[in-house]
């Protein structure tokens, strides 16, 4: 690609030189041709002049004869005159003939036997008979057997046309005299055509007497030239002959000139033709010289462009090299600056452990002064207590063993000891296997790490201490919790015993077992008993809750039919429901065998139904039981007052009785809280859905088979 420009220059120069040489050649060529043509014209002019003078001479002679009475009458004197005339011109004419006004030969000499022959059929004779003027024929074969040109001079007697006095000119002879001598180069030749286009003369005899259009019927250029020549004009032309049989050539180019032969009556044309290749062969030497010059030029150009290209290439190489050198220098400077400005120590030591190179940081840190680093054994900078270890590692490194970066304590020039991370890489330095070491000062980091470690240790100690404290506190709390549970348990017993007495005695008294009482007394005793029972229920709930919370509760597991429990619940509330004018509807699909704490389950369902009834003034309470796989769902649905959404979340908290204006709040406030706890304890759950004024649905679901809970 990069030689394209050179190649283009080369081509342009080549084309210019070629063109110059070619134009020179063509100019020479055309000048040569012009010169040849000029020569041809000169020759042709001379020939034309010869022929013209010939005809002029005979025109005079025949005019004289035609005016002679003896000739007109053709008496013996006339014949005598004709014989004499012929004899005196025997070299030039082949016969002299007197033709009568009918075209019949009246007398001819020297071949007198032809006398009496009618030649009126010959075209020129016919012309004569028609025009009564001078006629010069084309070449034809006369009755005498000559191929000749006839020259007829009309003869008149007293203005009457009396035929002609004619001579036959053996045109060959005439032409040979004038034209045959014309020889241009090797085969340039002259030829003649008549105004009718008949070849009058040619060095090729077979052409004579034939029409030029027939002879050269394959060569339109010849025809064009012939037509031009037949008009009597003169000119220069070039024509191509195709299939010249005489030359055994398929095509041959001729340079030709043509000019007219003007006599009084005819206009013939002389043509001189020379084969172009012959003309050109005269300048062949010149052409060869040109070709050689051209070849030399091409080679010179080739060399020139080659060297030009090479020179350019060299220049470019040079530029590239200088650029590369520049880049290399910059890169080297960069590397040097990198190495020198690095705060880490970079050093190279050889196989003997002698320091051969150290960067600025290396010199400054290790040296005291800086010059006392190079040439020193690298081990001299290692602290005494680590020297053996490092030496071992160094020899390992030198034998090609890869080593992980390790920490090393280094003596600085200033007498300090610093800790560094040392990395060693085996490299080649000035064609010698050496070790490159990179040492990063990590003293500060080490100190920081140490501090961090101490802080960490402190922290751990504090955490341990706190943990211990917490553990103690926890232990204390557990103890407190146990005490509380014990307290609650014993307290409840202590509280319950007097209550039992109160309830029992009021019962006896109300029954009249201890003597007659009046109705008012009975009513009031009933109130005492109710209050005592309420208090007992409260205490029982508290005991249950405290037991659950203390994890002291145990399930009393038995296998029973849930149907029985539900029936029991229904029976318990049937009276109350009836009194309140409500409807309790129970839905249960046959018997459901449950293995769990029957009393607790009954307690929970009782609590839910009791709540439902408590908060429903009109309508119904539905108790629906539905087993689902391994659990059973007990839904208690009422048409009661419902629960506000914000209260729903408080539902399962202790003493969260929902304040309701004008409503009897006779519950313990622990019922749902306890039920919820118990449900969880049995591996179940209580959920509530409600909308204020639209009733509520409480769903208690629990497993058909009780499994001891780990966390409750």
């Amino acid at each position: 690609m990069r030689y394209i420009r050179q190649f283009v220059i080369f081509l342009v120069l080549l084309v210019v030189c070629g063109f110059l040489l070619y134009s020179t050649y063509t100019e020479i060529e055309s000048k040569t041709i012009a010169q040849v043509n000029n020569e041809q014209i000169v020759h042709a002019d001379q020939a034309a002049a010869g022929i013209e003078s010939f005809f002029r001479t005979y025109n005079n002679s025949l005019s004289f004869l035609a005016g002679d009475t003896h000739i007109i009458l053709l008496d013996s004197d006339g014949r005598e005159l004709m014989r004499n005339f012929f004899n005196s011109h025997a070299g030039e004419i082949s016969s002299i003939t007197r033709v009568d006004e009918n075209g019949t030969i009246s007398y001819t000499y020297p071949i007198e036997t032809s006398t009496g022959t009618d030649i009126s059929s010959q075209s020129h004779v016919r012309q004569l008979l028609n025009t009564h003027s001078i006629v010069i024929s084309d070449v034809f074969t006369s009755v005498q057997g000559f191929r000749s040109v006839a020259f007829h001079m009309p003869v008149f007697r007293d203005g009457m046309f009396k035929g002609s006095i004619a001579i036959l000119i053996p045109f060959d002879t005439l032409a040979k005299e004038n034209l045959g001598t014309i020889k241009i180069l090797d085969s340039g030749y002259a030829w003649t055509i008549s105004q009718n286009g008949v070849v009058l003369y040619s060095p090729y005899p077979e052409q004579i007497g034939k029409s030029v259009f027939d002879v050269f019927n394959n060569s339109p250029t010849v025809k064009t030239m012939a037509q031009e020549a037949m008009k009597g004009s003169r000119g220069v032309s070039m024509y191509t002959v195709v299939g010249d049989p005489t030359r055994n050539l398929s095509e041959i180019k001729f340079q030709a000139i043509y000019l007219p032969i003007n006599t009084s009556t005819i206009t013939w044309s002389i043509l001189v033709s020379t084969p172009e290749n012959e003309i050109l062969s005269t300048i062949q030497g010149f052409r060869n010289t040109l070709v050689i010059i051209f070849a030399i030029l091409i080679f010179s150009l080739l060399f020139f462009t080659y060297y030009l290209a090479r020179a350019r290439g060299i220049v470019k190489e040079e530029e590239k090299r200088s650029k590369a050198e520049e880049a290399l220098r910059e890169s080297e400077e960069f590397n040097r600056s990198l190495v020198e400005n690095l705060p880490d120590i970079i050093a190279i030591y050889d196989s003997k452990g002698i320091v051969r190179f150290a960067n600025r940081a290396g010199l400054n840190i290790l040296g005291s002064p800086a010059s006392k680093v190079l040439g020193e054994p690298i081990l001299s900078f290692v602290t005494d207590y680590q020297r053996n270890d490092v030496e071992r590692k160094m020899s390992a490194r030198l034998s090609g063993i890869w080593l992980a970066p390790y920490e090393v304590d280094i003596k600085t020039g200033g007498g300090e000891i610093i800790t560094a991370i040392l990395r060693a890489i085996q490299i080649s330095y000035r064609k010698e296997a050496v070790v490159l070491v990179l040492m990063t000062n990590i003293t500060e980091r080490k100190q920081a790490e140490q501090k961090l470690l101490e802080a960490h240790r402190d922290l751990e100690m504090k955490v341990d201490e706190r943990t211990r404290e917490l553990s103690e506190a926890n232990h204390h709390l557990q103890e407190l919790d146990r005490l509380k549970s014990m307290f609650v348990a014993s307290m409840s017993h202590e509280l319950r015993t007097p209550l039992n007495s109160i309830i029992g005695f009021t019962g006896i008294m109300a029954k009249g077992l201890a003597g007659e009482i009046n109705p008012e007394q009975k009513k009031q005793l009933g109130m005492v008993q109710d209050s005592a029972r309420h208090l007992l229920a409260l205490i029982n709930d508290v005991i249950d809750i405290s037991k659950i919370e203390a994890g002291k509760i145990e399930a009393s597991v038995s296998t029973f039919d849930l149907n029985d429990v539900i029936r029991e619940v229904r029976d318990t509330f049937s009276k109350t429901v009836e009194e309140q004018g409500l409807m309790l509807h129970v839905e249960i699909p046959g018997s459901i065998t449950v293995t769990s704490d029957e009393r607790r389950i009954k307690q929970i369902i009782m609590n839910l139904v009791s709540n439902a009834i408590k908060f429903t003034d009109t309508g119904r309470v539905d108790l629906i039981v539905e087993p689902k796989d391994t659990v059973v769902e007990v839904r208690v649905r009422d048409t009661g007052i419902g629960i506000r959404t914000e209260d729903l979340i408080k539902l399962f908290r202790p003493f969260s009785r929902i304040a309701e204006q004008g409503r009897l709040t006779d519950g313990t406030g622990l019922g749902l809280y306890l039920s919820h706890k118990l449900a969880r304890f049995l591996g179940g759950e209580i959920t509530a859905e409600s909308e204020q004024g639209r009733g509520s649905v409480f769903t208690f679901s629990f497993p058909l088979e009780y499994e001891k809970q780990e966390d409750e």
């Binding site: 409840s492 017993h493 319950r496 015993t497 007097p498 209550l499 039992n500 007495s501 309830i503 029992g504 005695f505 019962g507 006896i508 029954k511 077992l513 201890a514 007992l536 029982n540 005991i543 249950d544 037991k547 002291k552 509760i553 145990e554 009393s556």
Partner: protein, 120 residues
Amino acid sequence: MTTVLVVEDNEKNMYLISFILKGEGFNVIGAITGEEGVEKAVKEHPDLILMDIQLPGIDGYETTRRIRASSSDGKVPIIALTSYAMTGDRERALAAGCTGYVEKPINPDTIMDEIRKYLR
């Protein structure tokens, strides 16, 4: 005359139960500790024993076990007086050899029906 042994440490409860039972025409023997209960059960041969579980000293279970262990009369019906919410009271009572149980507080309306159920 049917004799009922009541083992009960609380004076008022003892009075309450005795009152009801005597009102029904039973002969009532009281014992206020487990040891006394065992002693009287062996000596007096009651027809039925009402056993409070929460007793000072040896409790109702232990007392029941001892009565059952004594050769004199091991088949006397012993009805445990249990408190609500004391989980396992009933099971433990039955395991210790009690024939049945009645929940405190005592209901004068129903207690007699319960007792008569267990009398031979």
